[in-house]
């Protein structure tokens, strides 16, 4: 084989490998997007995972329908993959809204329900309050269950419409806010990021300062570095097991936010130590000498000169760490749990986005929902990466001429 032939063969293989890698990556992201994008909307981000029953107090009114029957019929705001229209819609004037009967079918449940399909602009429902007088929203995919104590139970849609029309004055309506949202997971993720950084960042930075500025190079320092490197390579499930045995059981923190964040903090430590150390090492010796020669103490030198120079590197470490927390699943599964709720205290459980994605896919077989959560995670990671570029440029003291 000639040289040029060999060259082009190698070139071909390189191109092919690159092509395969790229297309695999793109198709994974594409798959997640295609599967999940239908579920991603504002409600998805701001609702609880569990359905919520609300009693709404509404002053009945008399609101005529302002659109024609055809366009009323076309309004089907509910998720059409799970819900199919059975009857209706019927417009009810005293609540200024249209109701419809749909059958709901999800992986684990199947039922018939009455939902609100359309709400007029000046519908009394828009002024709904709860029993404490606080304003609440009623959306177009909420489920109606009873009015003034009359349960809709096995009624047909017509009967329901008649029942509602027969009522007047103040109405007490039992509605169900649909679940499936990830608000609690977003908030749990935020808590987890904040708590683990609060613990790991000071420890990691001081550890790195000790290693680079104070420790005499030798066996001990090498041992610490080696340990940190090993820790970085250990799969997180091991940390999860440790966290479970130590924080959850031995310290009796239970499966909770605090157990989870402390476990993750341990996972983060080596990352933070390593990148801070790298950042500190790139600070020229000349700055330290210059500072000491001016009669500054070692501590002043470190905090006033060396650390500010290392800030971009530390910022990168922080963003990497956030990425780590957002992406962590195995360790959190064991230590923070899978309960989709906003943790009330440090000692309540909660599931982060990643854990939730695992949970709905594995336990409920709901791939679409898992992919929708996947999209949110991907977006967060991309935003973090962009941020890390911007901040490390912005914070760089050498950039500000």
């Amino acid at each position: 084989m000639g040289r040029t032939a060999k060259d082009s063969l190698v070139k071909g293989i390189i191109y092919l490998a690159t092509g395969i890698t790229l297309s695999v990556l793109l198709s994974i992201v594409g798959f997640i997007f295609v599967k999940g994008i239908g579920l991603v909307n504002w409600d998805f981000l701001t609702r609880d995972y569990n359905e919520k029953v609300v009693y709404a107090f509404v002053e009945s009114g008399e609101v005529p329908l302002s659109i024609d029957e055809e366009s009323l019929k076309s309004k089907q705001p509910y998720d059409q993959r799970y819900e199919t229209l059975q009857e209706g819609p019927i417009y009810v004037e005293n609540i200024g809204a249209a109701i419809a009967s749909v059958s709901y079918k999800n992986h684990s449940t199947e039922r018939e329900q009455i939902v609100i399909s359309y709400i007029e602009k000046d519908s009394p429902l828009n002024g709904a309050i709860d029993s404490t007088g606080k304003a609440i929203t009623i959306g177009t995919d909420y489920i109606l269950q009873s009015i003034n104590g009359t349960d809709f139970g096995d009624m047909t849609l017509e009967e329901v419409a008649e029942t509602i029309t027969a009522e007047s004055g103040e109405l007490k309506i039992k509605v169900v806010q649909p679940g499936g949202g990830i608000k609690s997971n977003i908030i749990t993720t935020l808590y987890m990021v904040l708590l683990s950084l609060i613990v790991a960042l000071p420890l990691g930075i001081f550890g790195a300062i000790y290693l680079t500025e104070y420790a005499k190079p030798g066996r001990l320092v090498n041992a610490i570095r080696f340990a940190a490197e090993c820790l970085a390579g250990i799969p997180s499930i091991i940390f999860g097991l440790f966290g479970m045995a130590f924080f959850v059981v031995a310290m009796n923190f239970q499966i909770s936010l605090i157990s989870g964040s402390l476990t993750v903090a341990i996972i983060l430590l080596p990352v933070i130590i390593r990148s801070t150390e790298e950042a500190l090492k790139t600070v020229p010796m000349a700055f330290r000498e210059g500072s000491l020669a001016l009669g500054a103490t070692k501590l002043q030198t470190i905090f006033k000169v060396v650390l500010p120079c290392a800030v971009p590197g530390i910022a990168t470490a922080v963003l990497l760490s956030i990425g780590r927390v957002v992406g962590e699943s195995a360790a959190l599964l064991l230590t923070a749990g899978t309960v989709a709720q906003i943790p009330g205290t440090l000692f309540s459980p909660g599931s982060t986005l990643t854990v939730q994605a695992y949970y709905v896919a594995k336990e409920e077989g709901n791939i679409e929902l898992a992919c929708a959560i996947g999209i949110v995670i991907i977006v967060i990671v991309i935003v973090l990466n962009i941020l890390s570029r911007i901040t490390s440029d912005k914070l760089d003291v050498f950039n500000k001429k």
Partner: protein, 252 residues
């Protein structure tokens, strides 16, 4: 004892591990004079200079024997190193302004000593920059980063920073070797004007520079001081053959 003697070293030996970099140095450095150290590369000039404000503390393997008396007190004894360094300032070969504003660079040292009063700091910054002949060039950009200055300006800033500490001695290790001739001339002028207030010790590779600015010159060779005398004598009538060889360029 002669009260005009600032530094007095007695049988000073210095080792980097097993390597002896300074061999039995005896030298008296007088107050408000400019003393120049010359000698071929690696002969220990910087090492000796760094002994005088204990910058060698930063290097782990350094061992020192003998005495270095500063105003009659051994600086390797139980003294306050921070205090020593405020009294003996240092300017390095490569300008090393901190990556902060010009103002903060000057105010850094005094602030580290606990000076907080804004007016006092403002006045000190202005005075130091004026003394370092830099005020007019930077007075409009005090809050800009010092890294935006030219090399020569940066070096004068480093001198100003040192002056702000109001030291008694200023050590300079080849302060102009990274600068062009014009910037060098400015710094040399500056040194002549600083001479009346400060004791200056300068390491230089330029014979002309040593000749122009110094009162005394020490010739170092392989860790030893071969000759230490009035500058004109060193350059016109050296006592040692090796000094003469070096001065006339017949050496390494």
């Amino acid at each position: 004892m002669d009260t005009n003697i600032k530094f007095n070293t007695k049988n000073l030996d210095l080792f980097y591990g097993d390597f002896q970099a300074l061999k039995s140095i005896n030298m008296e450095i007088r107050e408000k004079e400019v003393t120049a150290f010359i000698g071929p590369s690696g002969c220990g000039k910087s090492t000796f200079l760094r002994c005088l404000n204990r910058m060698n503390d930063l290097i782990d393997c350094v061992k020192i024997k003998g005495e270095i008396l500063f105003d009659g007190k051994d600086i390797n004894g139980p003294i306050d190193v921070i205090n020593l360094r405020t009294r003996v300032g240092m300017v390095f070969q490569k300008p090393n302004p901190f990556p902060m504003s010009i103002y903060e660079n000057i105010a850094y040292g005094p602030k580290c000593q606990g000076m907080k009063d804004k007016n006092q700091l403002d006045a000190l910054v202005k005075e130091s920059l004026t003394k370092a002949a830099l005020w007019d060039e930077v007075k409009d950009r005090l809050n800009k980063s010092a890294l935006g200055l030219s090399g020569g300006q940066q070096q004068r800033l480093c001198i100003a920073r040192t002056i702000a500490m109001n030291p008694e001695v200023i050590l300079m290790d080849e302060p102009t070797s990274a600068l062009d001739p014009i910037a060098t001339a400015k710094i040399e002028d500056l040194m002549s004007s600083l001479k009346k207030d400060y004791t200056i010790i300068i390491v230089t590779h330029s014979m002309q520079q040593a000749g122009r600015i110094s009162d005394k010159t020490a010739f170092f060779l392989m860790g030893e001081v071969i000759e230490f005398n009035e500058t004109p004598i060193i350059f016109t009538n050296p006592h040692d053959k090796r000094t003469e060889d070096y001065i006339t360029g017949r050496f390494g």
